[in-house]
Amino acid sequence: MVTSPDLIACLDCDLLHRSVVLPSGGVARCQRCGAPLYRPSKDVLERSLALACASAILFLVANAFPFLDFEVGGQVQTCHLLTGVTTLMEQGFPFLAFTVLLTSLLAPAAMITSLLLVSGLLLTHRRPSFLKPLVRFLDRLKPWSMMEVYLLGAIVSVVKLMSMADIRVGLGSWAFVGLILTLTAAVAAFDPAAVWDELS
């Protein structure tokens, strides 16, 4: 099949553009509808591997340590990231439990794993057959990782409960904030265009 690697069509309006080399920090936008087309990238694999490693460590810490403590009248209730999911299950809401599990834990975990695998394998010049499907899978996962929305939800919950109980922020919460930063940076560093160039 004939392909045109130097041409790029806008995904929002289909206008064709010829790719040019951009200065660092620049962004190419569609002339007709303004959609971002591509950004210059540097050390794609090294950066995403490093940031994905940091994310993996923070992910483990965020899940292993308490997220929030709730104390009222001497009784303390500790919750972890996963507690919300198990409690929703116990209360008979599997759909809610699954959606929360997917958006706050599964999608980020799958993204970290695929980032580690893809950048690790490409850096060591290995191309197993599952590599291409994995890169495509990673792109489809992106909208389902909603950790930043979850964090805002935690802040709202704390403010709601502050008047009636003592809330303590656990180590898990801080790791979670760090995880949002490192995983966002890892995803931003992982430029799919550069990865597909590498793969073709």
């Binding site: 010829r18 009222v72 209360q91």
Partner: protein, 217 residues
Amino acid sequence: MTPPDKSVALTATDAGLVTCHDCRLTARRRTIPRGYAAHCPRCDALLHARRTNSLSRTWALLIAAAICYVPANTLPVSTFTWLGRGNPDTIISSVKALFADGDAPIALLLFFASICVPVMKLVLLSWLAATVHFRSLWRPRDRTVIFRLVEVIGRWSMLDVFVISILVALVKLGAMAKVEAGPGAVAFCAVVVLTMFAARTFDPRLIWDVVDQENSA
């Protein structure tokens, strides 16, 4: 950044090219026998010129979301039990209660995420699909920008679902204090998920196809 020819805007369709939805490679379009599919030579994904049945799928998902929107707002999303007395809340009553308690910033935030964003998504996506359906030529660029906006802010309507999941995990001290999720939360979550799918199914290039066909005619 210039298109290949400055005077005439050339689209991938005009040039006989299709863009791979997964890796963005542009490949020459070929006729293929019935029952066969073209795969991207670079990433192996199925090649489509546009998202498959974009308009009908978007409509189906929007109608499903609109149906779920009714129980999402009439049924309780959570029940707060305090010293043995239960107090079920719908989305609107919980926002009202927060306003009454003087938590204005949080109340505004929840009002925006749980009421404004879902309504905006439903209304704007239906409007966009309708403009494509009726072959509107009105401000294609602005409509594309509106679509991108809907895609970006959509995820924030998940806020209330997360708040409920954290409250049920934290407040479980038996009869003294307890929070339970309600059936309204399931319907609300379904609205958010369905509208996310609807936004991903809608192909904004359809807005421009109408304009391009009109210009070339």
